[in-house]
Symmetry: C2
Subunit: 376 residues, 2 copies
């Protein structure tokens, strides 16, 4: 019989597209003894998680909670609850996660209209308006912060345009929530989802989600049952609500972790947290430029929490990443899809966004690029 | 702004239908710093989780892995991957979770044939055969250990009968895996799912699953795409397989926990673990009898990991549970569905199944029943 050694994970410096590093306080929260999921103490804790999620989403939406799966599950929850077979959905596709939304929507019988932009660019309200004029839709979905490209799509004017055409606005906030402003109420976003392992610096395993009144009304008026049991928001809502109707068993320890991670966000304060992410990203961008490296996304749309850098001609993309990991315990990522082999992705999210990490990473990169025959 | 206090959970003695208590070693494993989900070290750890899951499922099935959601998600994964619209499925309904299988199957267009038995009874191979003779099915689904009733359906002869009629055998092992024998290969089960928070004594958040060759072939030959992105086993398989194709981000910390929980199962050894569950349940049953309480399920089908006890006439079911929790930190559960208000459910699962817990629980019950005017 194989014997398995004690778990002994190194202290990785996680500067990829997520997971980010987890604050020691959050790690310790997970070592707490379990409560039953119907224990009054756990019910109190669930309410706190909801309140704290409303704070980071900047919303008063009652239906705000973490889906009991990763960010992909909360993404699917938004799609499957809103779409009924034959519904038109306009999806902004400017990266990998827009593609994924198209796949999900079509699995549920949605008729997908793709608003395509080159990877690294953003979707504008004008383009959305034009597309809706040509072909109306029930839902418009955009990715706020594309984790595959590092582009931040401005949303200030998106809700107005979408609602003018009678559609609902669905937003992916996976890599923005907790790192850059996400103003669900002010921007009039109808439904949005995120993940815990990005700018919230909690381990992966829960998918924060918020649903506004307009979207709830659409869900209430569905003609067909939601074709997905685990992600049926009507049942999940009654589990998280005062009725506490049994649905599934919430991942208790993960909720301990999320509560602690959100408490840390609240203690720092959103504005200070956004400023930290902004300032640190500027330090990174300056450093990359000094090394002669080029960021893919123009500065005005560049995401503070995730930066894509072009791999210089003649440099072995994977070899550099491997050396960073094995020699310096630093993780960054390569590109996905259209960007595969062409870019590195460097995340500065939540607890990972610290000056010491940036300085170390830049020094390591300088060394490795020199060894690869590239000097600034 | 509301300030939230430090997490400070009491040491609950969890004797309900799950979650069970978590071993201190598992709690400590969750406090380890995170690895990236594509880190070679995490990939090695995933392989170990798969090997250890094969050990507890007693199977050589290559496709054995934890779904990144709770047990309900792994339940849905089995249903949605096997069923295509219009497929016939025979479901043994002798409790709450058989009902849930019916709901899930019908959401995916399955034509459900219910094999109903009163709550607390079991489904026999003879009954399954009779039902299949009347009306063939593509899939037969049974709940091995019904968490709502505490009945254990014998499976030794089920696979033979089901396969004779050309169907696939789908089994719910949520409350059996790690507590009573689950012999996937010997019993010729085609697909089975479980949860982590029962007899494996790991927090909830992952859903172990195993798929045999016959079921994989059915999945490969589907005419339609799986109408569920998050639970599409073909994609999940390539994420867990050597290709490591990105699908979602696995709940990393939860996998640390599951690995440690499974390592503890392996160290104890399955046979010794089953014997411990059996012996401790006998101590509980004897003690309940001495208190004048009646177990609902006849001894020959009674589940060691979960016991349902009839609430005596005139006793306030919820008041007793409340006193157990607030005065003695002991959690047990009430009944679900048909058993609501009529039974208590007492779990002795994994790390919760210890003599000191049973003795304490019985003493507390004796005290509380006396106070309620019931004396043995």
């Amino acid at each position: 019989m194989t014997m398995y050694h004690d778990l002994n994970t190194p202290e990785r410096i996680l500067l990829g597209p997520g997971p980010s590093m987890v604050e020691p306080r959050v790690l310790r929260a997970m070592a707490h003894p379990l409560l039953g999921h119907l224990d009054p103490m756990f019910i109190g804790l669930m309410k706190e998680v909801q309140e704290l999620l409303r704070y980071v989403f900047q919303t008063n939406n009652e239906l705000t909670l973490p889906i009991s799966g990763t960010g992909s599950a909360s993404m699917e929850a938004t799609v499957v609850n809103l779409i009924e077979s034959g519904d038109e959905i306009l999806i902004g596709v400017n990266g990998y996660f827009g593609e994924r939304l198209c796949d999900m929507a079509s699995r549920y019988g949605g008729i997908v209209n793709r608003l395509e932009k080159p990877w690294g660019e953003v979707i504008t309200p004008e383009e959305v308006e034009k597309a809706l004029q040509k072909r109306p839709a029930k839902i418009v979905a955009v990715v706020h912060a594309e984790t595959s490209t590092g582009a931040l799509t401005p949303l200030e004017d998106m809700g107005r345009v979408v609602h003018k055409h009678g559609a609902l606005l669905l937003v992916d906030c996976v890599t923005s929530l907790g790192g850059v402003p996400v103003k669900i109420d002010e921007w009039d976003v109808d439904i949005a989802y995120s993940a815990t392992q990005k700018c919230l610096s909690c381990p992966p395993g829960l998918g924060p989600l918020t649903v506004g009144e307009r979207a709830r009304e659409v869900i209430r008026k569905r003609k067909s049952k939601v074709p997905n049991w685990y992600l049926d928001l009507t049942m999940i809502e009654h589990y998280w609500g005062d009725e506490r109707t049994y649905h599934h068993t919430a991942p208790i320890t993960m909720n301990f972790a999320l509560r602690e991670a959100l408490r840390i966000v609240q203690e720092e304060g959103l504005e200070k947290r956004f400023a930290r992410h902004r300032e640190n990203s500027q330090m990174l961008w300056q450093g990359l430029e000094d090394l002669g490296l080029k960021c893919v996304v123009p500065k005005e749309h560049r995401l503070p929490s995730l930066t894509t850098v072009a791999v210089p001609e003649g440099v072995d993309e994977t070899a550099i990443r491997k050396s960073l990991l094995t020699e310096y315990n630093i993780e960054i990522a390569g590109g996905l899809g259209a960007f595969k082999g062409k870019v590195w992705r460097i995340g500065l999210m939540g607890y990972s966004s610290r000056k010491e990490n940036i300085l170390l990473f830049l020094s390591a990169m300088e060394k490795l690029l020199k060894q690869a025959g590239q000097s600034p």
